[in-house]
Amino acid sequence: MKFLLAIPLFFVPLAVHDNVVLTILIFTYLVGILAVSFNLIFGFTGQLSLFHAAAFGLSAYATYLSMVHLGVSFWVGALIGVLFVTLISIAIGAICFRFKLRELYFAIVTLAFSELIRLVILNWNSFTNGSLGINFTLTPTLWVPGRGVIPVAGTIMWYYLSLAAVVAAVFAYSRIVHSWMGRCFASIRLNDALADTLGINVFRYKLVSFVAGNIGAAVAGSLYSFYISYIDPNYFSLDQSLAIIAMALLGGREFVAAPIVGALVLTALPHVINVNAEARLLIYGLILILTILLMPRGIVGLLVRRRHAA
């Protein structure tokens, strides 16, 4: 059972008391959900979506704004965020896949939709506070055995919450990938014309993959924004989408959990080598190029023998 590999992670806070290390791991898990869910669309179904950062940000905004305006709890707000992203993804996916947009055309159209949403959020000052972003005044609450309902605060609680979320995400996506549905995704990635003649509804399964991937991004967005207690329209930027692609490629796109390794490297890197934001982008780009040239199967691909993806 590969899931046993996650068990030691639950004991990390007992052994490591350095807040920086735990914080890096929390970010790794939260961004890891984003990268793993992106890889369902990209690595397993072969569709290069640039909508992923938008699904992430959209859910963060939807969660917080529904808490403020509807007075619901974080968990209901997150559910609203996920449902909202699901509906938007169905609409955008249906448009892209109905017109059979391929490769770069799909990437560009999904990028255009992300930009559209970013501009709406940037300019709808009265509702979203525009470019200033929103500082959160609300926190999620959680029922903890023996302590009742308490606010999620502090590094330890966030550590366990984000670890539980990433384990759940990896579990859910591996169920999908290693099922008949994963075979449909693989057939679309490898030869969609053949898939069509074998009776596989290419439109339907592209859409299912796109929506299922974006739901992961939505969950990550709700948690991440509450962890840092802040959102602004930069969540939607192309930089974010490129960072997600870099994580998936660096970790290895053949494996469900591998993008988390990419997330760890790219999250820890700024702490290991201290550079400013512009230089960081340069380093991301360099890593991306070197990965594609030297290890196209990613870090996990270097360690694990090729296994077929269906």
Binding site: R175, L190, N191, L198, G199, A309
Partner: protein
Amino acid sequence: MLLEVRHLTKRFGGLTAVSDLSFGLDAGEIIGVFGPNGSGKTTLLNLISGVYTPTAGELVWKDEALVGRKPHEIAAAGIVKTFQNPQLFGELSVFENVAIAGHLRLKRQAGWRRVATLFPVRANADDDLASRIDHVLRLCRLDAFRDVPAASLSYGGEKMLGVALALMCEPVLLLLDEPGSGLGHDELRNLDEVLRDLRAHGTTLCVIDHRVGFLGKLADRAIVIHHGAKIAEGRPDDVLRDRAVIEAYLGRGDA
């Protein structure tokens, strides 16, 4: 009548690839469609399987119109086509290729219940999938290549895998686009046996080939098309002696 082709016409711009073609297919027979290169045979199969939409004419499958349905819907209805140039999922193993083709079978067996199998509480959807795949691989003489990547098969092996993919869909009507082209002598005999096996199990076959020898012996009935129009129909032996057919193949006056 299983499938009726009525006045089928397909034009690509100024080129008429299939012209006012009509014929019928009965359940359980092997029909051979002959014609020289460029006579419209592949276009005909692409029209039946929904890859192309006809310019005019009708296709009636079990009393229902086929025109306008998408390829995957036509496959689900029981008409499956193989490709002249083998189409595969190259980086996957032979076994995994056939597993993907098991989608329609799963869909027929489980329907929407297949969605429930994604959740951990339910057992796997396809318990007998592996045995079914092995059966198809044995039938197509591919069992020795079960775990080999499909891309590393020989050309003949790739063509047989194409047939195996189609078989896994459990078709009522199997459309084969030049299954024998590029095959060696042994592979051809192999294919002949597989196709006869299929007919014995009740599958209707529509095979197109420009080579008369292989298909002439296999088919129950032959149709010859030339420039997209039918020029002869009947028992293969009679049809292939037909004067118009010989002219189409060899040119006027050579016969």
